[in-house]
Symmetry: D3
Subunit: 144 residues, 6 copies
């Protein structure tokens, strides 16, 4: 197995709050991330796929193909969007960096073929806040 990774970026806004909680509790737990008008980030996403390089191309997966899958399935949905309101597959989910990365996994998993084994997603919200997911226990709970 060799692992190839494609890196991409997108800009989005979000707000951390739990609609089942009082304003006070949301403020206490999420603090400045709970700003009602939201705030935003330049997210960085790395998608890692594993496999054996094809003897005819030397490719585990053509990274141009992987780039297009990520663009079509992820970037188009989240770039220049508000993650709480504009993204169907994040509906009802508190958009923490760890919840988003699991949601991305579920989307990408079904966009790859059998041979293109999704190994890892890594998502930077800022240079200092990062989440990684390897497909273990992919359930995220909606607050709905």
């Amino acid at each position: 197995m060799v692992y190839v990774t494609r890196r991409t970026t997108f800009s989005a806004s979000h707000r951390l709050f739990n609609p089942n909680w009082t304003d006070e509790k949301n403020q206490e737990v999420f603090d400045k991330c709970n700003n009602p008008n939201g705030h935003g980030h330049n997210y960085v996403l790395e998608v890692t796929v594993g496999g054996i390089p094809d003897p005819e191309t030397g490719y585990v997966i053509d990274l141009k193909v992987l780039k297009n899958i990520i663009k079509e399935k992820i970037e188009k949905e989240v770039d220049h969007k508000h993650l709480n309101y504009d993204v169907d597959f994040l509906s009802g989910i508190i958009p923490t960096v760890e919840n988003i990365v699991v949601a991305f996994w579920n989307i990408l998993k079904e966009s790859l073929t059998e041979q293109q084994k999704l190994i890892k997603l890594k998502l930077w919200e800022t240079e200092s806040n990062i989440a990684e997911y390897y497909g273990e226990d992919a359930n995220i709970t909606s607050y709905k």
Copy 2:
């Protein structure tokens, strides 16, 4: 003259639109930056101050002091905020990276002493979109 620079970051959301225009015109000009729920960035700000190093301290300006001025006057106002709705000094201003950097100049200018000469502001909206301002023609027009 020696120039010292302090770098800081903040996360905010914004929407590019001109309230005097139709939705169609806004969409045509600002495209995906016009998403109604906004989108966001991890902004990077560099503030450059010039002067002669003080013979007793070796400092043009104590960078801890400059850091605190930026924190108090800029970061507190814009970090984890929506630049269109939450920031008094950006009210009525389309928050493009070039308009924001001029607005920051006006704020910082009055927060420094005579000796602490503000030379340059540099603001990254993304790694690829950057504005710089040296205090020439500081007027920005409100759409109000």
Copy 3:
């Protein structure tokens, strides 16, 4: 005046040699940069344009427009190319980082309007080798 910058990258190969010289002289002067089969870099280019933000848009220049000009006039010509053989506007020019940046200036200068004042180009060949050009004395000499 406010200055806005658009950053882009491209991958190209080149060889430093002067066809008017002997192999020995080329090797002595250009050393490993003279490898006959060439070598390559991920170049980074920053294009800076200055102006007054338009009161209706807040833009000095729409960075999407600047991005497209750079893509059309520069990237299309040099990305995934050999700079010695594949680029018309570099023909007869030793592709050092300083010669390339001047050649780019001449191309971009004529692609901008009167209001879009080209201020500066910055070109990284590696993280450690950089050239900047502000349009002073733009002549580069062909070895032809």
Copy 4:
């Protein structure tokens, strides 16, 4: 086990094509990476070695030693070279980032002692295209 990593860079050119294919097929599959005169990259390589820190030195491996092994065995062969034509150990191999990283593994594996356990190689071709290899199924197929 503690893992130590040494990072290095080199500049090289390459061309992706399969000599057993027609020009049309090469163009279709490899697109702009198939430019006949090649193109190039600033590659970044990270070499990770694992072990128990020596009680007398605190070193898993002296990183100066690892640096020199990488310089001697890898950099000397590939820096400022064309990977298709100038590198013996890449002869007959399509120089995709995943094939190169496996070829580097085979070289480095035999340059380390029993105690210096090679754990991982990570190779960036660009900031966005990356391959990793942990020594699983190290065969790469020559097109010869």
Copy 5:
């Protein structure tokens, strides 16, 4: 399991030498790292914690909490310090990047709760010298 990482930096000085050795042996083994007055680095530390996102918050661990633990237990002890003389928990330990990362593990391990599973520490001494630790065989030997 999802993994979240908090990144932080600190500036410290150190000297690599073994007090049980002669000056000559220290110089031979540690070379310029053995400078008697020490030298220093801007260290970068990444702390990775794994868990299941809490359905009510979407957090594996509140990264603000993790940030504060790292600040309190690590940064306060090592930032702007000399690692050989000023840090209790490094006393008697040769401060190589691999020994420091293990020492940090031992400190952080006891600062987290049962649910906050410490997975990995990654420490950069420079951009090119890095150590990682996953808690395997955590003993480091004092030279005392």
Copy 6:
């Protein structure tokens, strides 16, 4: 004029204090930068030289030559050293980032020829603390 820049790094330790002051005053002014055993940084230095590209080489200055001048005159003196005690040309100077950059200018100025015009030095002490110098009023005061 075209400007070429060579970037390099070095690791050093320093302590900010004025020997003419009491310990209390040093602590009050320099705070944690005054740690008696010192602390350290990975400094980044960029040296910019301006000129007209030579028609025969395409070089303003051969960057390999500039690299060697910086290595010989600066790196050799400061890398893996304590800037307060180990560097002759910093003797009696409080090693703030702005004082160091002026001292480097004085050294480099006399190491270049007439044609190699030193334009700018930029020195990062950390990612967030930076000094730049263009040769204006180069006097730095010794505390001796």
